[in-house]
Symmetry: C2
Subunit: 386 residues, 2 copies
């Protein structure tokens, strides 16, 4: 009897040891919640109390994993190692997709979603809050006569912005992806940490970063939001058409009149991820009087793997005159996660062949996800304005 | 046959008319989602696709309403008129509490929750974004040696802050309630709109408002967060003890050295809602060298209906010498929603009886919820610094 008790204690000790020593709550959790948990090898453990449910699953990275019901009414699952990065996920209870109450929510895929941060191997901290001077992220509201709505953007100001009253700063306009909004870069993207760390290491020059949303619709137009019924908005060929008006006629003038900016084209950059990259590639090359630096992260005109593009004739011929383009554009940048397919690389090569100078960056081992875009930002920003 | 078809069309038309003419998507929804919807009389309609579920309910204002399943797999319910204001709510699917995918999420009750804004009757717009000069809400990170953690606060700066470089501003420190965090006043509270509108109408003087969280734990201490398993943290009698250190030794000095503030006690206010009000009433009266304006919204020391308090002896006797207290404190403020019970009013009367001057505000027809606290803020701020 005693030896059985000892065995039981040992067994319980091992179980407990496995969950506490090797795993820790995901950094993407609500403060103080124990689940979901992440392991050093990329595994993740989930838990949900659902005593009456018939079936509970974890839906992550386009796979569903069955959870097992315990006698305490908690369903649990430890899933195989996941690729590093920030993944949207959800739990499925009797066929209904739900948020995990243990996770913070992140606006993506057209709704507030659970997310889990699978840590990268090694000591990677360029997007963490470190002991360096910190800038601010400022919420700014402005009226859009184009859309007849109040809009909100976020503006990163560098650590010295308030102290150096005589300094003026270049401005970088940065867009999210389809189904997300202006909160994406601030929350999922860890924009301020990445900027603070790059500026502290003198890898980047101090600059403003304006994050706004390309969702912009005139009265009667359908906004470019992801519908929860799965319907995609019918925008015809007008990619970023209304947002272009907002950006050029309202946002940029508002920023230049409100903040101490350098307002010439050589001190203005634009980039975006996924649909925001496509939007950038649609607007910026056609408005080179406004922009000298252009980036698309997992989404430039040729980045969707739609086959070969004719660089000379695309987008009303903005790339037709390579020499003029190369003279004007200080940086044309494409990036992609290595798991996303060859679209961006194909476009990079087509641009090269057409004589258009560009920089191609591939994020190793990452998907169409925020870790690709954090790495892209971290690689892109040091190339600006210097 | 034809008449049947006409009848059917008429019937469909009526149904459609009822839902589109009389109701509209809640302003608290994810952009572009049709449900939940609100009616002018306070009713609300909910919808969820859950073809495999056995039972679906709406859980709002401490009541559960059954939803009915349609042949299309959607469950729907229109619930009776709700009191005006912002209500946290959730849907219950086969016994599991879930977020409504149509709603934005709001951090409260220890997790990301659905919320619905039931409009007030009449034209109430003091918390809406209006055509007035707008300030900013700035995210600021700072290191806490007390907790050994990076902390985040939000700082409202008034519209003229950047332009009037010679001006210095009074500072108002404002706290959320138990189960919420520093995001509450910015998101649910509509802080920036209320401040912008008050300043534009010259009802309030331009000031900074610092919203931080009272959740502050030294290594080994248990933070004051609402556990999802229902367990309340064991903080003993140490209400706000660690936060007091953070506030007095770290936050206030950081704000005064980073922003153009007026740093004497006569230009510093502190208030909070619910547990944040209790925290304020615990910290501020005991530190009158730091604060001259003190407020508790639905939560001051006597505000929890715990019966009579002995004003003369409570909190180490801070209220014992009424004459000195009244001379030092320019405003002692208590507010409550009329549906919350008599706790705050009892405390107000006990303070009066003890000779402690104070202002009591009752929000008509509202509960322990954000509409009470928006109204309280709107009533409190004009009383500051003038």
């Amino acid at each position: 009897m005693r030896s059985f008790a000892i065995l039981l204690i040992l067994a319980l000790g091992l179980c407990w040891g496995q969950s506490s020593d090797e795993s820790k709550p995901a950094s993407s959790n609500v403060m103080g919640t124990e689940y979901p948990r992440v392991f050093a090898d990329g595994r993740a453990a989930f838990r949900l109390k659902a005593p009456e449910a018939q079936k509970v699953q974890v839906d992550i990275m386009a796979k569903k994993y069955d959870m097992a019901k315990g006698e305490d009414g908690f369903w649990t699952a430890t899933i195989p190692p996941q690729v590093a990065g920030f993944h949207y996920y959800r739990l499925v209870v009797d066929g209904v997709n739900i948020n995990d109450p243990g996770s913070e929510t992140y606006f993506g895929v057209g709704q507030q979603f659970s997310g889990i941060e699978i840590p990268e191997p090694g000591h990677v901290d360029y997007y963490e809050t470190k002991s360096v001077p910190h800038g601010e992220v400022r919420q700014r509201r402005y009226w859009s006569a184009t859309t007849q709505q109040w809009r909100r953007c976020f503006i990163y100001t560098p650590p010295d912005y308030d102290a150096n009253q005589k300094a003026r700063y270049p401005v970088f306009y940065l867009l999210h992806g389809f189904g997300e909004d202006e909160r994406g870069w601030v929350t999922q993207g860890r924009l301020d940490n990445i900027m603070d760390n790059l500026i502290a290491e003198k890898k980047a020059v101090p600059m403003l970063v304006v994050v706004d949303t390309f969702v912009a619709a005139k009265p009667g137009e359908e906004p470019m939001v992801m519908r929860q019924d799965g319907r995609r908005p019918n925008i015809g060929g007008n990619i970023g058409e209304t947002f272009r008006e907002v950006l050029l006629k309202e946002l940029i003038p508002m920023v230049d009149s409100t903040y101490r900016t350098l307002s010439d084209r050589e001190h203005r950059a634009m980039a975006g991820l996924s649909w925001g990259g496509l939007t950038t590639y649609t607007i910026a090359p056609a408005n080179l009087d406004k922009f000298a630096y252009i980036g698309g992260f997992s989404g430039s005109t040729g980045g969707f793997g739609r086959g070969n593009v004719d660089v000379k004739t695309m987008q009303n011929g903005v790339f037709a005159d390579a020499e003029t383009f190369n003279k004007k554009v200080k940086l044309l940048y494409l990036s992609i996660g290595s798991m996303e397919g060859p679209g961006a690389k194909n476009f990079h090569e087509a641009l090269e062949k057409a004589g258009i100078k560009n920089v191609y960056f591939e994020s190793p081992g990452t998907a169409h996800e925020w870790l690709t875009w954090r790495r892209s930002l971290n690689d892109f920003v040091p190339r600006l304005f210097q």
